[in-house]
């Protein structure tokens, strides 16, 4: 089920987390630990959660994303949730969910710009 895997890579000091289109519950469940462990191994100036491939964000998935942002904040890094599709934004709102005040961006490029401005540029190593 490689199409349903979360990918975590580092790009210029930023942790890029890419979520698959339709992950199963265990994959969503493992997201938080995987992101936090990656942060602990090597600090980053921020985390980008790329949800541009995600086509269904139900309450469970939305809660996991909101919680991930809070947890990353507790570890001292900002998170930007990037690329939510219009159909997903409409549905999530009507479902009654929010991302708990997480910072969002239209796409990954804008998310990276946001982090750059927030963090004053250079990543810690």
């Amino acid at each position: 089920m490689s199409e349903a895997e979360v990918s975590i890579i580092r790009v210029q000091g930023t942790l890029m987390v890419t979520l698959p289109a339709d992950p199963d519950d265990p994959t969503v469940n493992s997201l938080q630990e995987r992101v936090l462990e990656a942060l602990e191994r090597r600090p980053a100036r921020g985390v980008v959660l790329d949800i541009s491939a995600v086509d269904t964000l139900d309450s469970f998935f939305a809660r996991m994303i909101a919680e991930t942002c809070q947890m990353v904040a507790l570890m001292g890094s900002p998170t930007v949730v990037a690329g939510m599709r219009p159909s997903v934004a409409i549905t999530t709102t009507q479902l009654g969910m929010s991302l708990g005040g997480a910072t969002t961006a239209l796409d990954v490029e804008r998310a990276l710009l946001l982090l750059e401005r927030q963090g004053g540029g250079r990543a810690r190593r």
Partner: protein, 136 residues
């Protein structure tokens, strides 16, 4: 995978929530719903399929494509034989939960669909029927 206009799958494992989403997505797309409506329908179905698995352990998802002179619709029935819901009105309230969740599943699914019916009997189980219509 193209589902038959009518059919059913068993929900008895976590992975069946994904299968339910896939079937529902295919059926709704095939019925001609636009992307936003397909997303609404799949999201509502995902909430209900997860409820079946979480609260009852096992259940059945039945689906039906409906064609009438006035429009095309899709109908989904989630039935389980779990503990049931003691107070359905309370369960339909925003924020009410017995599982530590957010309590948006049932009221949220209702908002996303055109029709929503729930019937539950403590000790016997719960049936939720949802449908959405596409006007011709």
């Amino acid at each position: 995978m193209i589902p038959e206009p009518q059919g059913e799958i068993r929900i008895g494992a976590e992975v069946d929530i994904i299968t339910a989403r896939k079937v529902v997505r295919e059926l709704a797309s095939q019925a001609g719903f636009g992307l936003t409506d397909v997303t609404r329908i799949v999201t509502a179905a995902s909430e209900l399929a997860r409820n079946v698995f979480r609260y009852a352990g096992t259940g059945v998802l039945r689906w039906r494509k409906i064609d009438t002179v006035t429009g095309t619709g899709v109908e989904f029935i989630f039935e389980d034989f779990g503990p049931g819901i003691a107070d359905v009105d309370q369960a339909m309230q925003e924020g009410f939960t017995t599982s530590g969740g957010l309590g948006v599943g049932l009221p949220g699914a209702k908002r996303l669909m055109d029709e929503f019916q729930i019937r539950s009997e403590p000790g016997k189980g719960t049936v939720v029927k949802i449908s959405k219509w596409r006007r011709k």
